[in-house]
Amino acid sequence: MGGEQEEVPHRISSLQRYLTTPVTNIQTAADARESMRRKELEQARKVRLEWLENDVRSSQEKFEEITKGWSMAKDKVTPRELQEALSGQQQLCALLVENKKKLINDLQQELKVGDDRYVKDLRKQVEELDLMMERMEDQVKTLTKAYREELAQLERVYQQENKVLLITDKKERHQLLKKLWDEELERLAQRKKKVEEYEAKIHSLMLETIDKQSVIKTEETSNFQVLEREQQQMQGTNMIMRLKQIKERDDVETHKFNLANMKSRIISLQAEKKNLVTNYMSQVKQFRTKSRHLSKDHKRNIQQYERIQKTKKHFAVADARRFDEMWLTLEEEVRQLVERALVIDQRICERHLGLAWERPALPSSPFQPKKPARTPDPQPVSQLIHTEQSSQCSQGTTTDASGGPGSQAEGVDADACGEQTAAQSESDAWESEEARLSTEMKVMELLCDETGFLMEDQLLKMLAPLEKQGPTSVKLGSLLSSLGVEEEDLPKLADFLLTYQQQQTKVSSAAERVSIRTSTFDQAAAVETNSDLIHPNHVLPALKSFLKQHMKSRESSGPQQSSVPPTEARDSSTDGAYWERMGNVIPEEKVKLWEAARNLLEQHLEVLQEISELVPETDRLEQQNAELRMLLQQSLNQ
């Protein structure tokens, strides 16, 4: 095939070559002929030229001959000769002309031949052209034929190839298709079989699986329910556990917090306590020194007080005397004023109003001047002062002794008690004194025990190490001080308590009427035997009631004790009335009457004043009148 493909262009090019050569051959042949013709023409021209030259030469010779003849003829004289010469010339000319004619003829002949040849050439060229065209056409035809053949061959070759290929391909395809189909059919059959098998299998499997599934499902659901329940339980327990844990944690935290707080508080309190102890020590010292100073001051103050009392008494006496004097003078003055007023009233009534006047009754003076012998006895006062002083002293000692050792305090206290009893024993019977003291002591103890809550903790602590007797006294002291009850009131308190007990136990009213003291003493003795002084439960209300009473009595007795009152108290209420009556000697209607009278009098006054004012004027006018009269008289006289 490849060789064929290569051969095709070669064949065609050779064909072209071989086909073009005949055409170009004609051209080259024409060229060659043309060149030949030119050569011939050239040669002919040469020949002709030579010929012509020869002819020219010969004709020249002849012409010269003729001209010579003509010149010779001129020499000729005779006509004969002339004739001969003329004829000879004529002959020569004719020859020449003949020659020329011949030449012309020849040339014309040649021309004719040339024309013929030209025509022939033309014809030949026409023929050649025709031939060339023919050949060209042939060539074109053959070439086209060749090309067509070539094409056809190529096409045929390709078609054959195609056909062969097609056939083989088709065969292959058919075979392959057959194979494929067979295979496909086989596979299809197999597949069908398999499908059936599988369907059956699937059906059985489906049933199985459905059964299994249902079983499993039920199981699963039951399991699931159980699990769910468990889980819920677990959740509940977990919840509880968690709550418990949380609670525990909370507790622990709070405990921890409390503990820490307590610890810190303890620490701080201990530190505070230490501080306080030190403070206390220092303060005790300070107090000791201070108390020493204060006792000194106290003594000095007492002395001062006594002095003041004396001056006060003196002043009181002086004041009373002055008061009386003042009272008398004032009363005198008032009486005088009243008198005057009454006089005035009388005058007004009588003179101005023309009314009958009767004298109103004057109040009598409530004050009768007393005897100056009346003087207050100084003894009880001094006694009082003394007792007070002593009690205060004892108190100071007890307070002093409280800082010191217990034994000393006890002793001092005992002393004080002794003193006290001594001071109070003045008016009382001596026999009952001891019994009364013992009951008193017992009552006090009881009081102390019951009212311990009223005492300060610190004091109690401090008193704890003391012996039984010591603390009661100290306690009592502090208690009384806190209650505001004086030491002197202590027996009173004891008495009250005892009476209260009796009141509570519903003692008969007859016993009440008996003087309190005696009865109490008797009762106390009776009670003592019973060894039941007062019920501890009744102590507190009794104390309360006592305090109430005591405070009242104090308030009432306070000023009596402090100020020295006049021995006989004046009735000031009658004084006020008296003075009132004195003030209102002239009653209200009278005042109104006076007012009206006054108004009238004022009007009268005014009239009078006007009159008084006019009086000088009248006087002047009179004077003027007199003068004028004088002048008139003078003028008359003149």
Binding site: P9, T20, N25
Partner: protein
Amino acid sequence: MTSKSPCPPESNLRGPDACRNMRRIIAEDPLWSLAIVPSLSDLCLQSIVGHFEGNPIFEQLTPVQKDFIQESLSPSLPLSVTANLIGDGVYWRRCCEQRWDLCDVSNYGHSWKRMFLERRLQGIIELFMPDVTDPKTVLEMVPHCRNHVKRLDISQLLPPLKEEVEYGSELTIDNEYDGVSMDHFDFGILLDKLTGLEELHLVYRVQQCGLNFEWKMFEMTARDCESLAKALKSCKTLKLLRLHQSHIEDIKCRMLVKHLLDHPSLRELDFSHNLIGDRGARAIGKLLTRSKLKTLNLCDNNITDPGAKAIAHALSKNSTLLSLNLRLNRLRDEGGQALGEALLSNNTLRHLHLGGNEVTGPTAIALSKVLVQNSTLKSINLSCNNLGEDGGKALEEAMSHKTSITECDLRLTEVDEQIVSFINQMVWANQSLERKQQAQDKKPSVDPSSPSS
């Protein structure tokens, strides 16, 4: 325009009743269809076609409308309207086909417009009669075809009329012959205006003269020659000049050559079938040195060895000429040897035609040397020369070397048949070699029919 066209507008103008009527009428008319109704644009185009001469509208249209107008325009419209408006296309084909039977558009660059305008101008020039036809008729064409005319192939030029004079009085003929000029159409007025002209083919002859044949009809006068020479000089775009069968002698040749010296664009010169002698050949030799000619055709002239020597001398220095045709001259051996020597120092010439030059063996020997040495010469034609046995042997010996010759014509050269066949074999081998090289140069498969004879 169909008869149905006015119907729809009327129906639109009238009321609904009229519409109904129309519809009824339309239904009754079996030939009626909407396709028959021409669209408004078609009507407009038709009116444009109808009034194209008075109101040419072409540029604004769409390509489809342009095609329609080209199809329907009348070919007899004046060129002043159409030449510069309508581009190459159907219209010009219609014009050509209406005017001429044979229309080979491939000769005109496949441009119908160019074909029409060139042939129109050729026709006007060929029928131009000096002193009778107004030169304006030619000049009127110039503005229309200035940009399209590339080639003028003028196959005849009429001489001035003189028949009346001839028939008038025989006595005055001689005077008239001397006095009245026989000048042909003056190309001076035309060539410098055709800005696109590239080829000019001129023949000073009269076709179909019949019995009125006169030699004077077939030659150019001296004044023709001068005016033509000046016109050629003024035409700066000319590439090819073909002036054949016009009785150009040495003098006229010199005149033409004088004006063609240093022409900027001339590439091909054809003076074939004239009467150029040695002096003319010498002038052409000078032209070869002072121009860029690629092809020179001097076949069928009167050049002999002196002229050939002049040309050979010019050829030895020239480096542009590719083809030289000296067919049917008379160079003889001296000229042929001179050319052979010149070709030894020339590497540009490819084609040499020395057919019918009366050269013989010595020239063949000289050329065989050239064949051995020169590698550019490809075709050589020595046909119709009597080269003889010696020349043939020399050529055979030269061809036995590796040469570049692809064509060698040795017909009618009296060379031995065997030698000719051997040389042909070599030439064919070279041809196939060259073809393979060409095929290698351009990868696409070579058309086998490309090398034409």
